[in-house]
């Protein structure tokens, strides 16, 4: 397998065809709901996944329809370790592709003050998720995005204590 090697409670292998985005959203939203996230949080998680997959399709695969994307979904405990679904403190979603590698530092959204179409996806991912980390895959090809959403958000806790909100 050229994609993910490790075991995962849920592993989705899909082609880079935008017609499958709604199915991927439904999957992650349904799993998140079962893990105990609120309806709004489920919607945010599905949005972040959609934006991430769109970026792979548009920028990684240059809109090719038949390239592989792997999505791994796992419940996690408060420290980020594996968890039983019924005891999950959050969810980790890992997205990998087989596209040309780019410098993760260069993956960033545009300034929000610049009102124009496009360039918002990365900003939205970082805003709605507690963590969003881009890395090169160790195979020499492809990128990995690891996103974490917690039921009790670190961002909310930091906002409450007045120490800022940007974890990602």
């Amino acid at each position: 397998m050229s994609g993910m090697e490790s075991q995962a409670p849920i592993l989705l292998e899909m082609q880079s065809n935008p017609q499958y985005l709604s199915g991927a959203r439904d999957l992650v939203s349904g799993v998140s709901k079962r893990l105990g996230f609120s309806d709004m949080a489920c919607s945010q998680i599905a949005l972040a996944l959609d934006e991430a997959l769109c970026n792979v399709i548009r920028h990684g695969y240059k809109r090719a329809l038949d390239r592989p994307i792997w999505v791994r979904i796992a419940p996690i405990d408060a420290s980020g370790g594996p968890s039983e679904p019924t005891e999950a403190a959050g969810v980790r979603i890992v997205i990998e592709d087989d596209a040309e590698q780019v410098d993760p530092v260069q993956i960033k959204g545009r300034a929000l003050e610049d009102i124009r179409p496009g360039g918002l996806g990365v900003h939205i991912i970082r805003e709605v998720m507690d963590e969003a980390i881009y890395e090169r895959r160790e195979t020499g090809r492809g990128m990995r995005l690891t996103m974490v959403k917690l039921k009790v958000s670190k961002k909310a806790a930091r906002n409450d204590s007045g120490r800022g909100s940007d974890v990602a």
Partner: protein, 113 residues
Amino acid sequence: MSNALRVEYKEEGGTAFVSPHGEIGYTEATAFRTYLKQAQDKRMPRLVVDLAGVAFMSTPGLATLVEALQTSKKTQTGLVLCGLQDRVRAVFEIARLHTVFKIVPDVSAAREG
């Protein structure tokens, strides 16, 4: 696989109403853009986009609305959004676009101006 987006159009007085139903993501944004462009090409004084039937919108949908806003400014016509569901409104707020568009609660408020 069919496109999940359905769009209704009507005119009342000097206002055009575009009412999409479904999801507006990557695959639906192109059709949505076409509907909005057709509506704006009619050069009605106001265009109301009723989003009450939209359960999901991602950045391609937002981008389409930003394009429509830019067109409305060029042509000096009005653009009003209404009926945003909570999860769609949240996307506008995350993107800080809720202050850029004129957004009213529903079609009745949009009719009143």
